[in-house]
């Protein structure tokens, strides 16, 4: 079967995320975002790609929204209320709660401020949200009889989720935006080892590494501190929900640590509502905030006080978090107008601004900004642009690929240049295909087949019991023992070894294929008994040739350097086979000695049924080399030993 992926937006680009996938005959839209950088038709994804006749409900099985950022959900009311999509829409509870606020805010800027027509209305947003089915994390949801979806925590912003999608034996994971390191108010993304055929991951920070985030934060705090120390005012335009909370905690902790007295304010508006959301959805924040919320709400700040309008006349210095984030109206605009002319002041733009807003003009570096037909402002204050959005860096993306054991990776939501770098890294490190399609470009991925068989429960049980009795510390694959800081892994590690589930067990038995019946996997002895078949023993005897002369030369050379004297080498009769056996024995000890028992006597090495010996009979001696024999039952071990022997004897050259 084939899984197809087509980005309608976010293909080699950041903004208007919208990815179509076809999996097991189902068509799914992942995110339905808008592009903040445009105010023409490029703002929304090109839905005509899905259908020219507008029968979107028939074409799509469902729409999944990863989180409340507008570049992931901004086109949703347009798609449902104006394009007519009427099928199921899934998102998490916090996303469903917060998303309409952002949509309304965006609508206000577009319609009320910029006078756009033919835009979705408040009623459209409400109607759209009514169609949304809210989901819980880890809950398995059957969209229909064949299509299963399941959400996982993504960090990034409150309620952000990654989605696992499965149809039959084919599966896909879409990450949306995510963060693999916990920050001050959210936890880190985590997913089960779901082994998706395809992982579609964002790659915003594909070339950034974590340390630079810390230094960016230090940099930010230093700039704010320097400005207020110099008597300047700092204005930080924010949207009331999202990264604002992270910035507040950041500043609050810094103020506390540095014992600063300069006042910090947060302009009201949505703040009360925002705090309410954070309180109701405290389960979606990080462990620390969750565990202390009854006694101390992290969002009840000590240094940050509510803003009152009259404060604008105070001499300063002060720091003000002001809404809205794009300076298009309200407190942030008012403060900007007042403070812009003074070069001592500073404005910190933490995010992106819709084209045409005052915020976008500030970001563009305009020195004189026309606010409306009556007012223009001289912009002399210092402008800093600091992106604090919480995305996974290259290391985090690699970590997620490892965590879920993806078989193919598709990169979206990033710059083309940095994607290329990450792409080659993924392909070399994991040896799996990686794609970075442009918008409208289809990626087709062939999935590997699996054959469902029925395994005898007693066979399975016997192997599981034997495995747990064996208590082999090295049985699990190395990837799972690699350190990871997520809580579930930590939880699993905290369990005593005998309770911990084994990821992988060795299993052996007999397949029985009867025409027209399911293939069964049974206990070998049972099958043989039932069918009256005899076991067939196969013994291999192979000759492993090696270059005795080269071996001797190498040994003499080594001896010479070791003893620094010529007399130690060559005096007694040289037995190259004995020496080769010694070499092989040492190599085997280091390669597999920890896992299987090796025995050594004068002229042979024995491991289970495997015997490595020097030739004894005249005809054998004539041919030379070592003789290696084993029963077929130990074929896997023998194969490994042969490769070790080859390496050991070759290295003497």
């Amino acid at each position: 079967m084939t899984i197809q992926v087509v980005p309608l937006g976010a293909g080699q680009d950041v903004g208007r995320s919208c990815i179509l996938i076809t999996i097991g005959g189902k068509n799914i839209m992942l995110d339905c975002g808008m592009h903040m950088g445009f105010n023409d038709e490029r703002r929304f994804p090109d839905f005509s790609y899905i259908s020219k006749t507008g029968d979107f409900t028939e074409m799509l099985d469902c729409v999944i929204i990863s989180h409340f950022h507008l570049d992931h959900c901004g086109a949703l009311p347009f798609f449902t209320e104006m394009c007519g999509y009427d099928g199921p829409i899934y998102m998490t509870h916090p996303t469903k709660a917060i998303c309409p606020l952002l949509l309304e805010d965006y609508r206000k800027i577009s319609v009320d401020r910029k006078g756009e027509r033919n835009f979705f209305t408040s009623a459209n947003i409400k109607d759209c949200m009514k169609k949304v089915i809210a989901v819980n994390l880890h809950q398995s949801i059957m969209v229909d009889d064949d299509l299963e979806i399941c959400a996982y925590y993504a960090g990034h912003v409150l309620g952000a989720a990654m989605f696992y999608i499965r149809v039959g034996e084919e599966s896909l994971v879409y990450t949306g935006d995510y963060n693999m390191t916990p920050d001050r108010h959210l936890g880190s993304a985590w997913i089960d080892k779901v082994r998706p055929d395809v992982l579609i991951t964002e790659s915003t920070y594909a070339t950034t590494i974590r340390d630079s985030k810390r230094s960016r934060e230090r940099d930010f705090l230093k700039k704010v501190h320097d400005c207020v120390a110099d008597g300047g005012n700092v204005i930080i335009p924010v949207f009331a929900l999202g990264r604002a909370q992270e910035l507040c905690i950041l500043i609050e902790t810094y103020w506390e640590r540095m014992d600063l007295k300069v006042p910090i304010y947060f302009s009201t508006g949505l703040t009360e509502k925002a705090n309410h959301f954070y309180r109701l959805f405290i389960n979606w924040t990080n462990e620390k905030i969750k565990s202390t919320f009854v006694h101390r709400n992290m969002f009840d700040f000590k240094h940050i006080k509510p803003w009152e309008r009259s404060f604008i006349e105070l001499p300063g210095p002060m720091v003000v978090f002001a809404t809205p984030g794009m300076l298009h109206s309200g407190t942030s605009l008012e403060l900007f107008k007042k403070w812009a002319p003074n070069p001592k002041n500073m404005i910190i733009m933490p995010g992106y601004c819709v084209a045409g807003t005052v915020g976008s003009k500030v970001l563009a570096g305009e020195k004189k900004i026309q606010i409306d037909s009556f007012t223009s402002v001289d912009v002399n204050l210092q402008v800093k642009n600091l992106s604090f959005s919480a995305h996974a860096d290259a290391k985090g993306i690699m970590q997620l690929i490892r965590q879920c054991e993806a078989k193919n990776v598709v990169l979206v939501h990033g710059e083309k240049s940095s994607m290329g770098f990450l792409k080659s890294r993924i392909m070399t490190e994991f040896g799996i295909p990686c794609f970075d399609p442009a918008n409208g470009e289809t990626v087709s991925i062939e999935t590997t087949h699996v054959i469902p068989i029925e395994m005898s429960a007693s066979l399975l049980k016997r192997h599981l019991i034997r495995q747990s009795e064996a208590q082999e510390p090295d049985m699990s694959p190395p990837s799972s023992s690699e350190s990871s800081d997520d809580s579930t892994e930590a939880f699993k590690k905290s369990l005593p070894a005998e309770v911990r589930p084994k990821d992988t067990v060795l299993i052996q038995g007999m397949l029985v294929i009867d025409e027209g019946k399911p293939i069964r996997f049974e206990e070998a002895e049972e099958v043989l008994q039932k069918s009256g078949l005899a076991k067939h023993k196969v013994r291999f005897e192979v000759r492993k040739a090696y270059n005795a002369t080269a071996l001797r030369a190498a040994v003499e050379e080594a001896d010479y350097y070791q003893s620094m004297g010529p007399e130690s080498g060559g005096s007694s009769e040289w037995d190259s086979d004995a020496f080769a056996l010694d070499l092989v024995y040492v190599a085997l000890q280091s390669a597999i000695g920890n896992h299987v028992a090796l025995a050594r006597d004068g002229s042979a090495i024995a491991v289970r049924s495997i015997r490595i010996r020097a030739p004894t009979m005249a005809e054998e001696k004539e041919k030379g080399g070592l003789l290696i024999g084993w029963d077929y039952q130990d074929e896997d071990l023998a194969t490994r030993i042969l490769s070790v022997v080859t390496l050991a004897l070759a290295s003497t050259r």
Partner: protein, 595 residues
């Protein structure tokens, strides 16, 4: 008041899994985890764990460290989250509708499944997420526990009585005591009382108090669990409002929490007060203090709502007090009649086990007659039987087979042997368990090489000389030398020796009845192995009862391509895949690429 279940007769070390249905049902858990040799795993929903943690006052027998150690061993799950254990056991919690996080469990092994239905409520006007009956659909066995006893008052019929009593008391400026735990249907009761008082115009002169060491935590925590509530309550967070009314009253200062009656409680008292908390047994705690304070005045009331207590006995020591007493137990649990109704909706044949207290008699065939209104008996679609305390029951279930996915990679290396219509192939691989699935893959790749060291392969059948010779011819080996040694003449085991050159190197294969010896240069060992496996696979194995099987290798050549081999090696594996939907669910695909 606190009694451990009788664990005698159970080898706790052999218990693999403990499933918790709600926080009222885990009082013995610290004993189990900290004081016995139990080593299994424990699962509960997140709210169950959190209420269990904060309700530490409920565990008088343990110290804090024991409780913490115990709670930390519980693995949290959410409703409808699939948990897979040991590859073959699948566990899923489904909402029970009884209290926040209360769950019923679906336990599946292979094709068989059990539904464990504990304290459940099918009432739809309460705050917990609604009863999720979907677990009953697939279950072949249903075990029901904690059903509402016969003759109990349902919440809906009793709540008006409670509200009326409270309103009457408040109207005459009296205080009301409602002894109960700060959890469960109390949240609904409080809401109903407030709405009733509001309706009667009495809310302006009333205040609410929750008295318990855990009241603050329980009330605050319950209000962040919107995702575990009924849809009606979930909607509240979109406003955003606290989903449970006490959150809103708390914010407005109409309701307060206290650790005990000492301290601020008395000074805060301005209006008739409705007090929730304490313990319904009325033997210790704040309710005893309050009965001492207010019990003498006839305008005050005490209302006992807890259905699991002998309320008359609780009130006995206070029978001489003037305070007005009302016993009005509210039971939200599912009754046996409701269970019969629920089961009737499911067509799938089932065996339902109920506590013997819910049955009238057990017949000689083991089926039971129920103590419901209609004295229901077993039907072909639904067999009822009873279970008793400490009487072990053997359920006749347990699947013989589990579905495992065989990877394409492993299938490629299989050389099946056929006899009659059946083919067999010995395989050895690593079984990975991930995301509720089991997949069988080659043991020798990836991080699994160490597993391969322990692998023990097997072969069966007999070698056929002609098949071997044909196989040799097919790989371009000409003029093999065949020597036959006879048992009697040569005074040794009969064998056939085939000597030949492969890839320019000497090799020989010695065939005996149940043994083959391959001698060759190491460099050609892989090629010889493949040759050998193919020969074994393609040698026609005589049916089991065929007499002369020990001379099979001497039979004339009959090379037929094994059917299974064709399937695995050449044919499309998809034909082995019966469940996959082939027809796309949509008439057309996406339109071609745009540039």
């Amino acid at each position: 008041m606190f009694k451990l279940p009788d664990f005698s007769g159970i080898d706790l070390k052999s218990v693999d899994v403990v499933l918790i249905s709600n926080f009222n049902h885990m009082l013995s858990l610290p004993y189990l985890t900290e004081f016995t040799d139990f080593q299994g795993r424990i699962f509960a929903t997140e709210p169950t764990i959190e209420f269990g943690r904060s309700g530490s006052g409920l565990y008088p027998a343990y110290n804090m460290a024991d409780i913490k150690a115990c709670i930390d061993k519980i693995q949290p799950v959410r409703f409808r989250e699939h948990v897979s254990l040991y590859g073959s056991l699948k566990l899923t919690a489904h909402s029970a509708g009884y209290c926040l996080g209360s769950s019923n469990w679906h336990i599946q092994t292979g094709t068989e499944s059990i539904a464990f239905v504990s304290s459940s409520s099918i009432q739809t006007n309460l705050h917990p997420d609604l009863f999720d009956g979907s677990l009953l659909e697939k279950a072949s066995t249903v075990i029901a526990a904690d059903l509402c006893p016969k003759g109990a008052t349902s919440y809906n019929s009793g709540v008006n009585d409670v509200c009326a009593k409270v309103a009457m008391t408040v109207a005459r400026k009296g205080h009301v005591l409602v002894p109960c735990a700060i959890s469960g249907f109390l949240f609904d009761l409080m809401e109903d009382i407030h709405l009733h008082l509001n309706h009667m115009g009495l809310t302006h002169q009333v205040q609410y108090a929750f008295i318990s060491p855990v009241a603050e935590t329980a009330l605050q925590y319950s209000n962040i669990l919107a995702e575990w509530m009924a849809p009606r309550k979930q909607e509240m967070v979109y406003l955003p409002e606290a989903p449970l009314l006490h959150g809103i009253l708390q914010e407005k200062g109409l309701s307060k929490t206290y650790k005990s009656v000492h301290g601020a409680f008395s000074s805060d008292l301005k209006h008739p007060c409705i007090v929730f908390g304490g313990h319904p047994s009325l033997r210790s705690g704040p309710m005893v203090n309050l009965l001492q304070m207010w019990g003498g005045q006839a305008q005050n009331s005490i209302v006992l709502v807890e259905p699991r207590m002998d309320s008359a006995a609780s009130l006995e020591p206070f029978k001489d007090l003037e305070i007005s007493k009302r016993i009005c137990p509210l039971d939200i649990r599912m009754s046996i009649d409701q269970l019969v109704d629920v089961m009737r909706k499911h067509k799938h044949p089932k065996h339902v086990l109920v506590p013997s207290s819910n049955t009238i008699l057990t017949r000689s065939d083991g089926t039971a007659e129920l103590a419901d209104a209609k004295n229901t008996t077993s039907t072909p679609a639904c067999q009822w039987s009873a279970y008793k305390y400490a009487e072990p029951l053997q359920l006749g279930i347990g699947s013989l087979y589990e579905t495992v996915l065989l990877s394409e990679e492993l299938a490629k290396g299989i050389f099946p042997q056929s006899f009659g219509t059946t083919s067999i192939a010995a395989i050895s691989g690593s079984l990975s368990i991930y995301n509720n699935r089991m997949q069988l893959e080659p043991a020798s790749v990836g991080g699994r090489q160490i597993l391969a060291l322990h692998s023990q392969r097997q072969l069966c059948g007999t070698m056929n000389l002609n098949t071997l010779l044909t196989g040799l011819a097919m790989i371009g080996v000409s003029d093999p030398v065949v020597t036959a040694l006879d048992e009697i003449k040569d005074m040794q085991e009969a064998e056939i020796r085939v000597e030949f050159m492969l890839e320019g190197k000497d090799a020989s294969i010695i065939m005996r009845e149940n043994e083959t010896i391959v001698k060759c240069e190491e460099a050609i060992h892989i090629s010889s192995t493949v040759l050998l496996l193919k020969t074994l696979a393609e040698s026609d194995i005589p049916p089991a009862l065929d007499g002369d099987s020990h001379r099979a290798y001497a039979r004339p050549l009959e090379l037929d391509i094994v059917k299974f081999s064709a399937l695995v090696h050449k044919g499309p594996p998809i034909t082995l895949h019966p469940t996959y939907p082939h027809t796309p669910s949509h008439p057309t695909r996406f339109s071609p690429n745009i540039v």
